[in-house]
């Protein structure tokens, strides 16, 4: 039943959304709840109430704790003077539910979603959102001071701003993690180039420092991420797109793609790459690493504490560290960075108090208030020394752990500094984070050129399926089902499946910002 219902859900939602779009335009005036009714009416309403602040109704992404009862709800209310009723989307199929709520014009005043520019742009284009440009001009003093013009530029749809973004700080998220006690046991040093990595893997296989016999493998990766972090950097394709002669080129179109595949296929042939990698999931990978069957895996730093616990429990002497950015044959190296936006906040047309919503958002971006929401009070939630904010545990986690869910727009200069207090919750996490983001030389940290791009329809339409295509092809080549000569044919297919259209669109945008 549920399965059938789910399929129905998406089908019906699409149809419903289309229908309601058509309906929106005409019914706007007749609708008593005054969706499009106009700001004039609302201003009048606000004045009539004699400046008393209305209760705001917000919709947010899923959170472990109830927004209404988490400590921060009270803090926000005290600081801004607005009573707020928080609701949240489900963790699964959030966008389907959001479509339903938007198309039935539920009167939310503020809606915050993850950084999905595509969905946001759709809503803006169909006229479901309030144009924030005049509102920010009038009431958004702190908003203007906190958010860079660059970020606002990325939010523009047809020249108007419809959302307030939370920009993510740019950092390296993941790299190869290696068992250093295995290295020590064999008297090897940390690999710095691709050749050294191969040599280390060979030694791991032949001398078997983990004592697995034939069961283990030196290196394993996730079957859904067949493009290995760090290793791809050595072939110049650390990010999905990179600049070549002033133009953005997708990874498969670069010579490094083929070279990478032949390197990885070679590892596989020599038995240095886990034979079962294609069916590995994130959990299997961690299982293999922590049970000592595998010596090297790609691992994001936020997963370190869990891994470290399990590893020390199983092998009290186990040590681990990140492999530094590996150098390829021309000295090329790189770790891809994430970037962009992790939350977008907008005001739907169905809002009853758009002006108060902006005032509320603005009030939260007041310098002191923002700091209080983001990391709490000095001496209670954090300590400050030499420009570094450190959390006081466990209060910090208990009362500010979910703070990012309450931020609607961030102070783009200060937040990255505050934010590191979160990483310091666990020293092992912090060690991994700082290694990747301060000890790896800056020139090897490659930022994503598309991080601040506005919503590009062709690109967002095809991106997921193209990435899937690339991954499937990579897996096939690595396991030897296809030879590397198939790359040319693959590129043709890739272009036909939307790669070319995406490339054209991406470069049109890139040319416009480079000017």
């Amino acid at each position: 039943m549920i399965m059938i219902n789910r399929k129905w859900l998406s089908l019906v939602l699409c149809a419903g959304l289309a229908a309601s779009m058509a309906g929106c335009g005409s019914s706007g005036n007749t609708n008593k709840e005054g969706a499009a009714g106009g700001t004039a009416e609302q201003t009048a309403g606000a004045q009539k109430e004699g400046g008393s602040k209305p209760e705001l109704k917000t919709l947010n992404i899923w959170s472990k704790d109830d927004y209404n009862t988490y400590t921060l709800a009270k803090v926000v209310e005290e600081q801004t003077g607005y009573k707020v009723k928080y609701e949240m989307l489900p963790a699964d199929k959030a966008m389907d539910k959001l479509n339903l709520l938007i198309s039935s014009a539920e009167p939310y005043d503020v809606i915050t979603i993850t950084g999905e520019k595509a969905a946001y742009t759709d809503y803006a284009k169909m006229g479901a959102l309030v144009d924030l440009t005049p509102l920010i001009d009038k009431y958004g003093e702190n908003i203007k001071a906190s958010i860079s013009p660059e970020s606002f530029e990325a939010m523009k749809v047809d020249g108007k701003i419809y959302a307030i973004p939370n920009r993510t700080s740019e950092f390296v998220g993941s790299s190869l993690m290696i068992r250093t006690d295995w290295l020590d046991k064999l008297g090897l040093k940390m690999p710095a180039t691709l050749e050294e990595l191969t040599a280390v893997l060979k030694a791991f296989k032949e001398k078997d420092p983990g004592g697995n016999g034939d069961k283990g493998a030196p290196l394993s990766i996730d079957g859904a991420l067949a493009t290995m972090v760090n290793v791809t950097g050595a072939f110049g394709i650390a990010t999905g797109w990179s600049e070549v002669d002033g133009k953005l080129v997708a990874a498969p179109l670069q010579p490094g793609f083929k070279e990478y595949l032949s390197y990885a296929a070679d590892l596989y042939k020599q038995g240095l790459l886990d034979k079962e990698f294609a069916v590995n999931k994130d959990a299997t990978l961690k299982e293999k690493f922590t049970s000592g069957r595998v010596g090297v895996i790609p691992l994001p730093w936020y997963d370190i504490p869990g891994i470290a616990d399990a590893l020390t429990k199983n092998f009290p002497d186990a040590k681990y560290a990140y492999v530094p950015a590996l150098k390829g044959k021309d000295g090329q190296a790189g770790l891809g960075m994430s970037g962009g936006f992790d939350r977008l906040t907008f005001i739907p047309k169905s809002s009853k108090h758009p002006e108060d919503a902006i005032k509320w958002i603005n009030a939260k971006l007041d310098k002191d208030t923002f700091k209080l929401i983001a990391i709490g009070e000095e001496g209670k939630h954090f300590t400050y020394k030499d420009g570094v904010y450190s959390p006081i545990l466990p209060l910090f986690t208990d009362e500010r752990g979910l703070a990012s869910n309450y931020l609607t727009g961030i102070d783009e200069k200060l937040y990255p500094v505050y934010w590191q207090a979160r990483v310091q919750k666990d020293p092992r996490l912090f060690a991994g984070f700082t290694f990747l983001n301060s000890e790896v030389p800056a020139e090897y940290r490659i930022s994503d050129p598309l991080a601040l791009a506005p919503s590009l329809p062709e690109y967002s339409k095809n991106n997921a399926s193209l990435n899937q295509m690339i991954n499937d092809f990579a897996v096939k080549v690595i396991v030897g089902e296809e030879s590397t000569d198939a790359v040319a044919a693959f590129i043709e297919k890739y272009n036909a499946a939307g790669g070319e259209a995406s490339s054209k669109e991406v470069n049109e945008w890139y040319a416009s910002v480079k000017k």
């Binding site: 859900l9 419903g16 699964d92 339903l100 049970s291 936020y302 869990g306 992790d342």
Partner: protein, 291 residues
């Protein structure tokens, strides 16, 4: 009875062995979730937990059970299930009764009306808008009222009523009983097997209902247990990870918590089965031999 030959015995052993093996296979995933719920996190991460728990502990389970969001969702689900089952079973039994009287005028037309609703529905968005007009969105009654009577269950009860000897009712009438007395004092007590079975269907249905709450309940304070469960479990779904921010990833519940949530949400309804078992066997005989 007839004498059993060696071949019969062999077949019996084979059948039992097969069924026991099949049953065990079905129990395995359940056992694995249970042991994850009571194992230590490091053991889960390193894949050591199979059928038996490793590093037995009850902290995770306690943490889940004592979470205020869980308790609230649990109470709501229990309430909706209890109230919903009561109302549903009462209304279904009441509806089935007149429909089982073939000599009432217009009964076949009424049946067509009922059957029609089994086959056709208005669709999701119209339904949502309708519920909103009725002020049922964000109202727990929305989980009970629209699906109060399941036509299928009603037909099952109806055919059970029809299987009761007509003479029974006639003699009651001669003794001076009126319709409601007949229904509540004679028919319903005799129908306990089917009523209990259908009640169990309804109870499980209400308990497991996920779709309704997901669509009609926006208010966090009114979320049911299944919604909560789905959120906790799906939060770590691979497909969801790609558009999560680092902060969300850092806040993700560990596997043990997810397993414990599943256990805490499933066990209560599992416990209902053994008590219903004896009715259940009688009740599902509907449609087979009468007499």
């Amino acid at each position: 009875m007839t004498k059993r030959t060696k071949g019969d015995l062999l077949l019996d052993i084979g059948v039992y062995a097969f069924l026991i093996a099949l049953g065990l296979i079905m129990l395995l995933p359940l056992a694995s979730v249970f042991s994850k719920a009571v194992s230590e996190e490091w053991a889960i991460t390193s894949g050591k937990v199979g059928i038996l728990p490793v590093g037995f502990q009850l902290d995770t389970l306690m943490q889940v059970i004592s979470s205020s969001v869980f308790i609230r969702a649990f109470c709501i689900s229990v309430g909706v299930t209890a109230v919903g089952t009561l109302i549903s079973i009462l209304m279904t039994a009441l509806t089935a009764y007149p429909l089982s009287k073939r000599n009432l005028p217009g009964i076949s037309f009424c049946m067509v009306l009922f059957i029609f609703t089994m086959l056709f529905s208005g669709g999701l968005i119209p339904n949502y808008l309708l519920m909103r007009q009725l002020h049922l969105v964000d109202n727990l009654w929305v989980l009970i009222l629209p699906g109060m009577i399941s036509v299928f269950n009603m037909l099952v009860i109806k055919s059970y009523y029809e299987s009761l000897p007509e003479a029974l009712e006639e003699s009651a009438r001669i003794d001076g009983a009126k319709t409601y007395t007949i229904l509540f004092r004679i028919i319903l007590p005799l129908s306990m097997p089917v009523i209990a079975t259908i009640a169990l269907f309804y109870a499980v249905g209400y308990w497991n209902d996920y779709f309704g709450p997901m669509i009609y309940i926006n208010d966090t304070a009114l979320k049911t247990l299944q919604l909560y469960l789905q959120d906790v479990v799906m939060d770590a779904n691979n497909a969801n990870l790609t558009n999560k921010s680092i902060d969300d990833l850092m806040n993700m519940s560990p596997e043990g918590i997810r397993a414990a949530t599943v256990v805490a949400s499933t066990v209560p309804i599992l416990l209902v089965y053994p008590f219903m078992q004896k009715y259940f066997i009688k009740g599902v005989l509907i449609g087979s031999v009468k007499g």
